[in-house]
């Protein structure tokens, strides 16, 4: 309940950035083919607790999400189970085509260590100043809560706002000359 309240409190002027994700460029390294990224990202799939994103060869995951327009990222929600949910999550803004070998080459825009509350849905507020002009987001899940071989993520949601906000209704009014 408190998680839900705090969630709505933060979302005053933030929207779910799901609509701005450029799905053609979304990639996930080290995902299991039977439990791929859309299970955690897509509307409907991410609400389903039975559908998870799972890692394959080891516990790390590298998720690359490009956007259709420039956005500001305010907070993220990462939900998972108590043991297999992600623990350390690093976010990189505007880095294309990263691999596991160069995650340590430059510092992340933000790092989050997820608590059990976060795994239940409490959003993690990111360093807003670092995410003012985001074209693409790379999420590096370094390890999971219990240190097991497979990391399972049930839901990933991004909240923020767009840089150029166009109010379509406003446009119509102006047209009435």
């Amino acid at each position: 309940m408190s998680a839900a309240e705090s969630a709505t409190a933060i979302h005053r002027n933030q929207v779910d950035l799901l609509d701005f994700i450029d799905w053609s460029g979304v990639e996930c390294l080290n995902q299991s083919s039977s439990h791929p990224l859309p299970n955690a990202l897509k509307q409907g799939y991410r609400e389903d607790e039975g559908l998870n994103l799972e890692s394959d060869a080891d516990e790390q995951l590298l998720i690359y999400i490009p956007f259709t327009q420039v956005i500001k990222l305010h907070s993220i929600v990462v939900m998972g189970s108590e043991e297999d949910g992600p623990k350390t999550v690093k976010l990189f803004a505007n880095r294309e085509h990263m691999g596991f070998s160069n995650v340590s080459d430059f510092p992340p825009s933000d790092t989050a260590v997820l608590s059990q509350d976060n795994l239940k849905g409490k959003p993690v507020v990111v360093k807003y100043v670092k995410f003012q002009n985001v074209r693409s987001l790379t999420i590096f899940i370094e390890d999971n809560q219990s240190g097991s071989e497979i990391t399972k993520v049930q839901k990933i949601a991004l909240y923020g706002s767009t840089v150029e906000t166009t109010d379509m209704k406003g446009l119509k009014k102006i047209e009435d000359h």
Partner: protein, 397 residues
């Protein structure tokens, strides 16, 4: 048509001097490599291929992934053999080369030619495989050359740890008559998971194999499509003609009641009619052709004239209507001789019929049954049909 960047790891160790693959292991490998390069670039013009050698003084990258086929092939010249193959280092350096490819949208693939013994442990190879899988790099392994204990198992273990959704493959090529390239052409290494490169592969196969080809008429559709098409069409026409003639023969056979001989034919004819299938015994076809020839020579109208292929289709259509009409008449048990006037003319000619019957293997014209049939031929009579029904149950036993 998958957009792919490929690194080919060549084994140029001392073991490649062996001649069990003609002309030498190394030469066979080189041929295979050039074929692969060609196939990859042909299946998608944006594909890139790179080459590195695993033995010699150390792992050496001869060409980074490039779409320039000439550059790749030229660096294959003047390669020297020597030293030992370092599989682990070779694969890791290939992975590094792929990581720095120019077009990041390309899928990553490594093709390894493992011709010499592998000195690494299975564990180490599995770790390497896991790392490849983690970075979504596919791996194709060509196991040839030295066949030491444990080598296939090590390579299989490596493949198992890399394989993600069957994108990686392993091919074992034993020494023998077939060239390494020929064996590879039919494998997923070339055909790329069943798409794209098969056209190129087919052409290469035809060119390389010469007389031995898998194509129906010994003509590669890729090389000479018109000839292949013409051959195929004439084959189908001949088949249709034979089927029509066979059907006609079977029709005549049921009506003639040639004794035991007729039974398989009439049964097949009934089965054919009932099921409207076109299968026929080989003997039917022989009969049909024979009758056809005889009828032709006697200029009987209405018989299957093979003058002009253009008329064939019309003729076969007529025959099918024939068959339908016959079927209906058989089932009704009523006379319908009007459609078969032409054919009954043929049948009415006793001398002609007896000459045909005598030529059939198994039929003895002096058999009383046959004689009876000949006598009762000109008219389609119920006794005949009854006989047929009688004989049918006999055969059904």
């Amino acid at each position: 048509m998958v957009l792919e960047a490929t690194m080919i790891c060549i084994d140029n160790s001392e073991w490649m001097r062996n001649g069990d693959y003609s002309p030498s292991r190394f030469q066979a490998q080189a041929d295979a490599v050039s074929l692969i390069c060609g196939a990859k670039t042909q299946s998608n013009p944006e594909n890139t291929v790179g080459i590195l050698t695993m033995a010699g003084k150390g792992v050496r990258v001869l060409a980074t992934p490039t779409s320039d086929l000439g550059k790749v092939l030229s660096c294959m010249h003047g390669l020297e053999m020597g030293g030992e193959m370092n599989l682990a280092a070779g694969i890791q350096i290939a992975q590094l080369a792929l990581k720095h490819r120019q077009n990041k949208n390309q899928q990553q693939r490594i093709i390894v030619f493992a011709g010499s013994p592998i000195k690494h442990e299975k564990k180490a190879l599995e770790m390497i495989g896991k790392k490849l899988k983690k970075n979504s790099v596919a791996l194709d392994i060509v196991n040839f050359g030295e066949d030491e204990d444990g080598k296939p198992e090590k390579l299989e273990a490596l493949l198992a740890s890399v394989n993600n959704n069957d994108t990686s493959h392993i091919v074992h090529v034993p020494a023998g008559q077939n060239a390494l390239s020929d064996v590879l052409i039919s494998t997923p290494v070339f055909t790329g998971d069943g798409e794209g490169g098969s056209g190129f592969a087919a052409a290469a196969a035809a060119a390389a194999a010469g007389g031995v080809s898998d194509f129906d008429f010994g003509v590669d559709p890729n090389i000479d499509p018109e000839l292949a098409l013409a051959l195929r069409v004439s084959m189908e026409e001949e088949r249709a003609r034979q089927e029509a003639a066979a059907k006609r023969a079977a029709e005549e056979a049921t009506r003639q009641e040639k004794g035991e001989e007729a039974q398989p034919q009439s049964d097949s004819q009934n089965a054919t009619m009932n099921a409207t299938e076109k299968a026929s015994d080989p003997m039917d076809e022989d009969d049909a052709l024979l009758k056809q020839a005889l009828a032709l020579s006697m200029n009987i109208p209405g018989s299957d004239s093979s003058a002009g292929d253009a008329q064939m289709s019309e003729a076969t259509n007529d025959d099918q209507e024939f068959a339908l009409a016959l079927q209906m008449s058989m089932q009704d048990g009523s006379k319908d001789s009007s459609d078969q006037s032409d054919v009954s003319k043929v049948l009415g000619d006793q001398s002609f019929m007896s000459s045909i019957l005598s030529s059939l293997p198994g039929v003895d014209p002096n058999d009383p049954k046959v004689k009876d049939l000949l006598a009762s031929l000109p008219s389609q009579s119920e006794p005949q049909e009854k006989k047929e029904e009688d004989e049918q149950p006999k055969d059904d036993k």
